[in-house]
Amino acid sequence: MATQAGHAETHGHSIRLYLLVWGWLFVLSACSYLVDYFHLTGLLRWSLILLFMIVKAGLIVGIFMHMAWERLALIYAILVPPAALLVFVAIMTFEASYTLLTRLAFFGGT
């Protein structure tokens, strides 16, 4: 149990670091809100949305969830499998385009 208690302290998880990350998450959320507020559209809009989303997710997983201090064995076991979702996204993109195409062809866009 002593090793358990010592585990986090050796990494020096300071309150300052958490406050800093908290501040950044606020700033990034405000930025993504402003994307909507200023009605940005097209490629700029969704590249910004995705960028802010990924940076925020990285901060939460890395710092708040302490992933940055875990061993690679755990990091890869948790972070690699969700990559399968990206493959799934690619598959469903094809599928959805095909569905849309057939709907337009057979139902005349209604």
């Binding site: 149990m1 090793t3 358990q4 208690a5 585990h7 986090a8 302290e9 998880h13 300071s14 309150i15 958490y18 406050l19 990350v21 908290w22 998450l25 606020f26 959320s29 993504s32 809100y33 909507d36 507020y37 009605h39 969704w46 949305i49 995705l50 802010f52 989303m53 925020k56 997710a57 939460i60 997983v61 710092i63 708040f64 969830m65 302490h66 875990e70 061993r71 690679l72 064995a73 755990l74 890869y76 076991a77 948790i78 499998p81 969700p82 979702l85 799934f88 996204v89 469903m92 993109t93 599928e95 959805a96 385009s97 569905t99 849309l100 709907r103 337009l104 139902f107 866009g109 209604t110």
Partner: protein, 240 residues
């Protein structure tokens, strides 16, 4: 308990490098996740499975939104609120986002104070987290009520594609359920911290195992995950 003895038997060898350690951890015929306790590793694996649940919901949403021929309702207008005579787009969702992020911040600090064995601060910060979480759920209930009054149903809505309602209720409903469960877990653990269960090795009512301050971190993992999912929902459902 076996995990504990195995883990602490790590010799103080020289650092062999991260990649070498990765292959050692996976190929050695013993516990793979050496740095993490059994409880923590299992929480991570549960969160991984939950990632797939939410991943599939968001994928389903993407698929129906891409394949419908009817225009998708504009979330910026649907979720707008009138405050002080001004129409503010997505303002409630933005406030909900800030509330949830703040709860993650207080949770992270609760974990840090937990490992310093600062009983009072840990319990109070966890309580603050739970209150922020409950605020979030309350605002979500308000949002649902408003939309239901405006005629949004899982099978239709006044502004466009019918699939909007079903995906909205499905995704935010599942997320709200996760937040609610998280609030309950936080309150249970906060009470244990407050009573000093983790200092005296008090056995839990459910597992009959003595808890440790690591339980605070594990509850925190779940809580941060809930926040993490919201980051994706906010970006992909509300802003897209």
């Amino acid at each position: 308990m076996t995990g504990l003895t195995l883990r602490s038997s790590r010799p103080p060898e020289a650092d062999p490098g991260r990649w070498r350690r990765l292959s050692d951890d996976w190929s050695a015929e013993r516990q793979t996740f050496r740095g993490a306790s059994w409880r923590k590793a299992m929480m991570w694996i549960f969160l991984l499975s939950d990632t797939f649940v939410f991943g599939c919901f968001l994928l389903a949403y993407m698929t129906v939104r891409m394949s419908t021929t009817v225009p998708w309702p504009n979330p910026s207008e649907v979720f707008a609120l009138e405050i002080g005579g001004r129409q503010l787009p997505l303002i409630l969702i933005a406030i909900m986002t800030f509330v949830l992020i703040s709860s993650s911040g207080t949770m992270a600090m609760a974990v840090a104070f937990g490992y310093r064995r600062d009983r009072t601060r840990t319990a109070l910060l966890m309580l603050a987290t739970a209150i922020l979480g409950a605020t979030f759920v309350g605002m979500q209930a308000f949002e649902w009520t408003k939309l239901i009054h405006e005629g949004v149903r899982p099978w239709g809505n006044p502004w466009g594609a019918d699939q909007f309602g079903s995906t909205f209720f499905m995704i935010t409903g599942f997320h709200g359920t996760h937040v609610s469960i998280g609030v309950i877990v936080l309150l249970v653990i906060a009470r244990k911290v407050w009573r000093g269960d983790f200092d005296h090795g008090q056995r839990g009512f459910f597992t009959s195992q003595p808890g440790r301050y690591e339980n605070v971190e594990i509850a925190g993992l779940y809580w941060h995950f809930v926040d993490l999912v919201w980051v994706f929902i906010f970006a992909l459902f509300y802003l897209w």
